[in-house]
Amino acid sequence: MAVISLSVNGKKISKEVSDNILLSDFLRDKLALTGTHVGCDTSQCGACVVHLDGNSVKSCTTLVADCKDSKITTIEGLANNGKMHVMQESFKKHHGLQCGFCTPGMVMSAVDLLQKNKNPNEQEIRDWLEGNICRCTGYQNIVAAVKDAASKM
C-alpha cells in the first residue's frame, strides 16, 4: 500500500492504494468513474482507454502505482461545462456508436489520434483504431465521425 497523488479530470486526488491495483479498477471502483469500461482481459479491446498525461493508454494494463503525479483524463472529463467535445458530437452526428460499450475507449483513442495527426486519411484512422474493438458498428461510421471531427478541430 502507498499513498498516490494524481489528478483525474482536473481534480487532485490523494489515495492509499495497493501496489497491484490497475488504473481501470481504480477509476471504476474507487472513484466511481464507470465510463471507463473493461471488455477483455488481454489488453486487446480498448474499451478502457483513457489519457495519461495527454496520451491514450489502456487503463486495464496500467498500474496506479505508476501514475504518481500524473494527469488522467477519462471520458467523463472530456466534455467542457456540459458541452460535449467535438469528437463526442461527431460520433453522435455520424451514428458512430450503437450499444455504447466500446464508445468511451473509442472516443478517447480518436481524440489522441487527432492530437498526433491533425488530418488523418481513412487508412490512418483505421490503422490507429486497430486497438479498439467495436462489435456493433462495423467501424464505418466511427471512421466518418473521426474524419468529420478532424475537419472541425
Partner: protein
C-alpha cells in the same frame, strides 16, 4: 410537417454513452454487496469424484460457497430448452437436465461447478483455489461429425442425438433428382463462432428479506422471459415478487437472450445469504460459457435443368448444439434454418434432414441471424457452383430462378407476402458497377493481386413471430409483443415496450413512431424498457423482431389513444366521435374551425371535471386517464431480402484476402430511421465478413477451447473493412401495420457467402470459412501443383 417516418433523426440515447454516463450492470454497486466467483470445469467431460470446500470456506472474507448438491437439495430447476422439436420417428427431442451448478458430471470446459461468494472478488478468487475437486476424466466428444458414433454423453440419450428432424417431400424431391439434367453437390462447414458482445455478461442478485422481493440485474436481451424461466422452471422465486432489470446492455447478438446459470445462481444464492451478490464475467469466461453460434456440417445437392432452372434441393445437416440444449438451440437449426434454405428461388421441391448432436463443447444457440446465415450460406454457395458449372452469369442464374409473384407459397413452410427480387438485384448491379468488374480485375492483376466477385441474394424470415404458428411447431411461448403508451397530464408521453434495446436505438426509432402517430415532438416522448416492474410483460429482442412486432404494438397502442381521444374531443367540441379527424396532433371537428390538441385532450382526461376556468368533463362512460396497452401478435413473419455483391483481392504470395468493395441493397420494407438501419447493416456485414475471413472457434481433441481470448480469436478490426455501400429497395410488409420487415440480422445473413463466393471466384478453387491467409495460400499452392501436374 415533415414525417418522422423515414427521417434521419440523431439518437436520443447517445449522450449518456458518449459522456460515460451509461449504466451497465457492471456499473451498479449495491450496499452490503458480495462478489461471486464461479469455479468452472477445466475438463470437457468428467465425473466429479469429490468436492471439498472445507478449507476454502475458512479462507478470509468468504461468505459462503455453494455447490451442485446445494442446488439439487433445494430442488432448483435446470436451464431449459424452450422449443420442442419432434424427430422423424414421431418422438420428442431428447434433452438432458442442465443444472445451474453441475452435480455429478461436467460436460464442457467452463461448465459451472461451484460458486464462491466473498466480501471482495479477490478473496473469492483466492478461496476458489482452495476448493479441492477430484475429477475422473472421460473421453470428450468434440467433433460433431463423429458424435453419433461416440460414447454417450448424457445417459439415456443414445448416439448423442437430440433430434432427427425432417422437412419437405422426400419422394417428390428424389423424383426431381432422377429427372435432373445436372446434379450439383457440395460439402460445407459453417464455422463455429463466439458472439463477443463487447460488454461481458454480468448479473447482481439482490434479495430483500423483509419484503421478500428478489431483484436480478442482468445483461439480458429479454428480462421478462428470463424472469418467467427462472421463476416457472427454476423455481427460484414467485414471479410477482421477482424483478428482473436489464439496464444498458452492451450488445447481445443473441448471446444475451437466455437466462444463464450465473443468473440463476446469483439470484438464488442472494436469498440464501440475504445479501446482494455481484458477478461480472472476465472475457475468458465469456469465451468459455457464452452460447456459441453456427457449427453445422452439411451436404447439399441441387437438381438443375440445362437451361439453369432449379428443380430440387436436398440437404443433410449435422448441427452441433454443444453440451446442453440452450433456450433457442433447438429451433435455430430447424425452423429458423430449414425453410430458409430455399432462398429467393422458386424451387418446386426440397427435402431437409437435420440431426442435432450433443458434444462436450459450450452450448450453441442463436447468434445474429440464427439458422438463416447457415441457410443462406449453403444455398448461395451451391447456386454459385451451379451457375459456374453450367456456364451462366451469376446474376442471370439467380434471376432465372427468382420468385416473381407475391404472395408466394414456398414448397416448405413460408408464405412470402411481398418482395421484388429483380429490383434489388438490378440496383445492386448498378451500385456495385458490376459491368466494369472486368476492368477492376485487370487493375488488380497489374498489381499482382487476384480479384474475385461474389454474389449473395438472400431472404430471411424475421419479425418473429405469429404465436399460433410457432406454438404449433413446438415453441413454449407465444411471440407477441407488448406496448403501453401513457400520456402524462402535462402532455408528454411515457412509452413502455417489452422489446429491449442493447444498441439498436429503440429510444429513437420507437419515439419516431409515436411522434408520427400522435403528433407529439420526440423530445416529449420517453421509451422505457428493460425492467419487469415497469410496463407489461414482453418477449424481448431477437430475430429482428423489435420494430416489426414491438414497434407495431406501440403503433396499435397509439391508435387506441387516438380512438379514445376522439370521444373526448367530440364531447368537448360538441360533435360526434365519427366527425372528429385526427391530424398531426390535433383533433378537428369536421367542417368547422374547432379543434383540440392532443395535449389538451390528455389534460382533460386527467382532470375530468370543472375547476375554475378549466372545464373538461368527460363523456359518459369514458374513464379518466389516457393510457393504452397493446399486445400485438403478427399475422405472419416478415421477409426481408436483398442482394449483396462483394469483391475481394487476394495476395498470391501470402494468401491474404481483403474485401475491397462491398455493396448491399436490401429490402427492409418501410424504414423508420435510415441512419440507424444503415448502422445495423454495417454491423451485420462486419460480423459476416468476420465469419468468412477471420473468426473461428476451435476446440482441440481433448475439448479445450484454443480460441479463448482476443489474442487467439480473430475479432475484425477497423482496418479489415472497406467502405460498405448501402442502398435499399422497398416493398412494404403486409404482415404488420408499419410495413417494416426487420434489418438487424440481414448483414450477417447475406455477407458470408458473398465473401466466400468472391474468394472462390478469385482463386478458382473451393475454400472453407474462415478463409484465412494460410488456407487461401495452401489452396493456391494446391492449384499450382495441379497445373504443373497437368
Amino acid at each position: 410537417m415533415i414525417s418522422l417516418i423515414g427521417s434521419k433523426v440523431e439518437r436520443k440515447e447517445d449522450k449518456k454513452f458518449l459522456t460515460g454516463k451509461g449504466r451497465y450492470t457492471a456499473d451498479i454497486n449495491l450496499v452490503h454487496q458480495t462478489y461471486a466467483y464461479f469455479i468452472r470445469s477445466p475438463h470437457a467431460r468428467a465425473k466429479i469424484k469429490s468436492l471439498d470446500i472445507s478449507k476454502a470456506s475458512k479462507s478470509p472474507g468468504i461468505v459462503k460457497i455453494f455447490t451442485g448438491d446445494d442446488i439439487a437439495r433445494e430442488k432448483i430447476g435446470g436451464l431449459i430448452a424452450g422449443w420442442k422439436i419432434v424427430s422423424q420417428d414421431g418422438k420428442d427431442m431428447k434433452v438432458p437436465n442442465h443444472p445451474p451448478l453441475a452435480k455429478d458430471s461436467v460436460n464442457y470446459v467452463g461448465d459451472h461447478v461451484a460458486v464462491v461468494i466473498g466480501e471482495s472478488l479477490e478473496e473469492a478468487k483466492n478461496a476458489a483455489d482452495l476448493v479441492n475437486i477430484s475429477y475422473s476424466m472421460q473421453k470428450a466428444v468434440v467433433n460433431p461429425g463423429e458424435a453419433m458414433q461416440s460414447e454417450t454423453i448424457h445417459e439415456g440419450i443414445d448416439n448423442n442425438l437430440c433430434f432427427d428432424f425432417i422437412l419437405g417431400d422426400k419422394n417428390k424431391t428424389e423424383e426431381s433428382f432422377s429427372s435432373a439434367d445436372k446434379i450439383v453437390k457440395l460439402d460445407l462447414r459453417n464455422n463455429r463462432l463466439i458472439p463477443n458482445a463487447m460488454e461481458p455478461r454480468a448479473c447482481i442478485g439482490d434479495y430483500n428479506p423483509s419484503s421478500d422481493e428478489l431483484t436480478l440485474y442482468t445483461t439480458s436481451q429479454n428480462p421478462h422471459l428470463s424472469r418467467l424461466v427462472l421463476s416457472a422452471f427454476g423455481g427460484i422465486h414467485p414471479e410477482h415478487k421477482f424483478r428482473v432489470v436489464a439496464p444498458d446492455v452492451g450488445g447481445g447478438f443473441g448471446s444475451k437472450i437466455y437466462a444463464y446459470a450465473e443468473d440463476a445462481v446469483t439470484a438464488w444464492a442472494s436469498k440464501k445469504i440475504e445479501r446482494p451478490i455481484k458477478w461480472v464475467a472476465e472475457r475468458s469466461e465469456s469465451f468459455l460459457s457464452d452460447c456459441h453460434g453456427r457449427d453445422h456440417i452439411t451436404h447439399v445437392e441441387l437438381a438443375i435443368k440445362n437451361d439453369g432452372k432449379i428443380t430440387g434441393l436436398k440437404v443433410d445437416t449435422i448441427a452441433n448444439i454443444g453440451a446442453y440444449a440452450s433456450l433457442f438451440s433447438t429451433v435455430t437449426p430447424t425452423y429458423l434454418y430449414a425453410p430458409l434454405i430455399l432462398g429467393l428461388y422458386n424451387i418446386p421441391t426440397a427435402f431437409i434432414n437435420v440431426k442435432a448432436v450433443f458434444t462436450n463443447t459450450a452450448p450453441v444457440d442463436a447468434y445474429r441471424g440464427a439458422g438463416r446465415p447457415e441457410a443462406t450460406y449453403l444455398i448461395e454457395r451451391i447456386v454459385h457452383k451451379a451457375a459456374n458449372e453450367i456456364g451462366m452469369d451469376q446474376a442471370e442464374f439467380r434471376r432465372k430462378n427468382f420468385v416473381n409473384e407475391f404472395p408466394h407459397q414456398q414448397c416448405l413452410v413460408h408464405n412470402i407476402d411481398s418482395g421484388d427480387y429483380n429490383a434489388h438485384l438490378d440496383k445492386a448491379l448498378e451500385v456495385a458497377d458490376y459491368k466494369n468488374f472486368k476492368n477492376r480485375k485487370l487493375e488488380s492483376t497489374k498489381k499482382g493481386k487476384l480479384r474475385g466477385v461474389g454474389f449473395s441474394t438472400y431472404i430471411e424470415a424475421c419479425g418473429i413471430a405469429p404465436s399460433a404458428v410457432v406454438m404449433s411447431i413446438g415453441c413454449g411461448v407465444g411471440l407477441w409483443e407488448s406496448a403501453e403508451v401513457r400520456f402524462n397530464a402535462t402532455g408528454n408521453v411515457s412509452v413502455f415496450t417489452g422489446s429491449h434495446s442493447h444498441g439498436q436505438g429503440h429510444d429513437t426509432t420507437f419515439a419516431q413512431i409515436v411522434g408520427d402517430r400522435l403528433g407529439v415532438p420526440i423530445e416529449s416522448i420517453d421509451i422505457i424498457h428493460g425492467d419487469t416492474d415497469k410496463g407489461p410483460f414482453g418477449m424481448g429482442t431477437y430475430g429482428s423482431r423489435s420494430l416489426a412486432v414491438g414497434g407495431s404494438a406501440i403503433a396499435k397502442a397509439c391508435d387506441k389513444i387516438i380512438e379514445k381521444g376522439k370521444k373526448v374531443a367530440a364531447h368537448m367540441l360538441e360533435g360526434k366521435p365519427e366527425d372528429i379527424d385526427f391530424k398531426e396532433g390535433d383533433f378537428i371537428l369536421k367542417n368547422s374551425n374547432k379543434k383540440k390538441t392532443i395535449g389538451e385532450i390528455a389534460f382533460a382526461c386527467y382532470l375530468p371535471g370543472q375547476y375554475g376556468d378549466a372545464k373538461s368533463p368527460l363523456p359518459p362512460g369514458v374513464e379518466p386517464g389516457l393510457k393504452e396497452t397493446s399486445f400485438y401478435d403478427p399475422i405472419n413473419f416478415s421477409f426481408p431480402a436483398g442482394t449483396h455483391i462483394c469483391e475481394v483481392e487476394v495476395d498470391q504470395n501470402t494468401g491474404e484476402t481483403k474485401v475491397v468493395k462491398y455493396t448491399a441493397v436490401d429490402d427492409f420494407g418501410t424504414i423508420i430511421n435510415p441512419m440507424i438501419v444503415e448502422g445495423q447493416v454495417h454491423g451485420g456485414i462486419a460480423q459476416g465478413i468476420g465469419q468468412a475471413l477471420y473468426e473461428n472457434s476451435h476446440y482441440d481433441e481433448s475439448g479445450q477451447l484454443t480460441t479463448a481470448s482476443y489474442m487467439d480469436y480473430t475479432m475484425p478490426r477497423a482496418d479489415n473493412f472497406p467502405q460498405i455501400q448501402v442502398d435499399y429497395t422497398t416493398t412494404p410488409a403486409t404482415s404488420n401495420p408499419l410495413g417494416s420487415k426487420g434489418c438487424g440480422e440481414a448483414g450477417a445473413i447475406a455477407s458470408p457467402p458473398a465473401v466466400i463466393n468472391a474468394v472462390i471466384d478469385a482463386i478458382g478453387t473451393d475454400v472453407s470459412m474462415p478463409a484465412t491467409a494460410e488456407k487461401v495460400w495452401k489452396a493456391l499452392k494446391k492449384n499450382d501443383l495441379k497445373k504443373t501436374a497437368a
